[in-house]
Every structure is written in C-alpha cells, then in structure tokens.
Symmetry: none
Subunit: 158 residues, 2 copies
DNA sequence: ATAAAAATCATCCTAAAGTATGAGCAAAAA
DNA sequence: TTTTTGCTCATACTTTAGGATGATTTTTAT
C-alpha cells in the first residue's frame, strides 16, 4: 500500500507526462479527422506536434532535473570581542599544567614578584620558585616574561 | 562583423536546435514517403516525432538552463584582540617616554632579556639597563613584568 | 650657537630570578 | 595496597634584573 503510494508520489511528473501525452494523442487524432480536408495540413500538423512536444520536453526537463547549483562560499570574518576570557583547557591538559602552576602564572602576569606570589598564595618563596621553574619547563620558555607572552597567546591567562 | 560573430556564439544552442529541427523535418518527410504504404503508420510516425522532440526539448532545457547560484556565508571566527593596535600617543607624551624606551618596552613584552634587547638594538647591556630603569621610573613600576602589564593596559604596546 | 633632551656606556652593588637537587606529605589513581 | 601525582619546602649556586651615580656624545629645538 505505502509502496504503491510512494511509487505514485515519486513518479508524479512521469505519470503526468504520460497522461498529458495520451490526451494530446487523442486531441491530435481528433484534429486529424477534422482538418484532414486541407491540403498540406500534415506538415503544419507535424510542426505543431514538434513544437508542442519540444515545449513539453523542456517543461519535463525543468521539472525533473534538480536545479544546477553552484555554491559560492563567502567567508565573513567575525571579530570576537575580548570581553570574556575563556581558559584554553585543551592547552592546559596538553601541557600538563596544574592548578597551582596556573595560579602562579596569573600572578606573574599581574606583575608580582616571586615573594609577592608566595605571600598571596600563603606558601614559601621556595615553593613559588619550584612552581615557576616547572612552569617554564612545561611552557618551554626561559623567563617569566616569555611565559606571560606565550600564555597570553594560547589563552592560558587573560 | 564582431557583433555577428557574437550573435552566433551567444545563440549557439538555439541555432543548433533550429538546424537539427529542419533536418528532422526532412528526415520525417522522407520517412513519410517511404512508409506511407503501411496502414496506421501515421500514429507510429507521430509518436516517434513526439518522442524525438520531447528528447530534443529535454536536451535543450538542460543546455539552456543556467546554474542557480546560492551564496553560502560562512562565519569565520577571527580572534583578534589587537584588532588594530593604535599607540596611545597621549600617554606617551604625558609620561615623557622616548622612542628608544618604547623599543625597549616592546622587546621586554616579547620576553627578551636585557642582553637580548641590547643585541637586537646594537647597544650595550648598560644602555638597556639605563633605558629600562628610566622606563620603570616613568611608568611608576618596580619590575619589567609590571611595566608590561601597565603598558598593555594603557595601550603603549600591543 | 647654545641649551635641553635623548642616547650611549661604565662601574659597583643589591635584589630578584632562575637552576639543580633532594625530600616530606597528602590525595588520587592504579 | 601500592604507585603516582601534585604540592610543599629547603639549600646551594648561577644568572639576570634593577638601583645609584657619573660621564660622553648625538640630536633637537630655541
């Protein structure tokens, strides 16, 4: 049942074409009988058929073929306003940075000295030095200024 | 001359259609003369014409339809906090920063050490130290990291 | 031409930054 | 349970940064 319905709906155009072709045949037969009296009517008749079926073919083609589509991709640049900072967690995981190291990194970027960082995190200067040393190793840099530069580039800090 | 040629090239398909139609007419006329002896040959003949011109119409339609152009706008995200960096010259004048000091500041922000800055500016380490010292005094900071932080805030560096 | 500003360099000294190594401890993962 | 990981701290040492001061040489503006 459904398959039959599906068949009709899928071949709608073809069925319509067949029916209209049949009707035209009848019409032409009728015309043939009426105008057979004229001389050279056949040539005109055939010309008419040619034109009609050409139009029909064109109509059919336009109906059946899916429209030719050429796609033009236009890149529109969307400028992201630096309003909200989102931490690049992918980078954090790839580099294996710990929570504490990120804290140290942030305070570094704020211009804190190691001693200030130690005071603000309630740890010793040694601890901060260890963290910063590990940080530089993981970020593959030699100085805190380079660490800040790189961290900003890859969105580890705002 | 050129306009005529242009006309031909532009209406190539239509001209081809006309010619093939004329040829078909001749062919059909010839067939008519040959097979007129058969009974009911006319129906077959007309059917053949119908089919041929339908095909012709389809071919014509496929040839003549111009592709539909769809424009797809792809939003490309461009992360640009620099957008375009414009130096805050007002601040530069207010703080009394010299050209050289700004150069040093920029290299500092790139993560260069004083020695690296000296090499890149073709001056001695002492000179860079003097510049940076003056810089810190003018910016009212104590460390290069603070200088970078402040300079970015007031648009002295990108 | 002359004074002011900018750029250059040096030396001495202190403070901070950074390296290397070892070790204790607690929480989480195996 | 054992191992791993992260955080902690310490000591000793080297390097870099930064301060203070003074001096010479270009530029630049008046």
């Amino acid at each position: 049942m459904t398959s039959a319905r599906r068949f009709f709906s899928k071949n709608k155009s073809i069925i319509a074409y067949s029916i209209s072709l049949a009707l035209l045949m009848f019409l032409l037969k009728w015309l043939e009988l009426r105008f057979v009296i004229f001389d050279h009517a056949l040539e005109v008749y055939i010309g008419a058929i040619a034109v009609i079926f050409t139009v029909l073919g064109i109509w059919l083609a336009l109906k059946l073929t899916r429209p030719k589509v050429t796609t033009i991709v236009v890149e529109k640049q969307v400028y992201i306003n630096p309003g909200e900072f989102v931490l690049n967690e992918t980078a954090v995981n790839e580099l294996g940075l710990s929570k504490r190291e990120l804290e140290v990194l942030n305070l570094m970027a704020e211009g804190c000295s190691n001693q200030e960082i130690a005071s603000r995190l309630f740890v010793s200067l040694s601890t901060v030095k260890t963290h910063s040393s590990n940080l530089f190793f993981k970020l593959d840099v030699k100085r805190r200024t380079q660490a800040i530069e790189k961290a900003k580039k890859i969105c580890l800090i705002p």
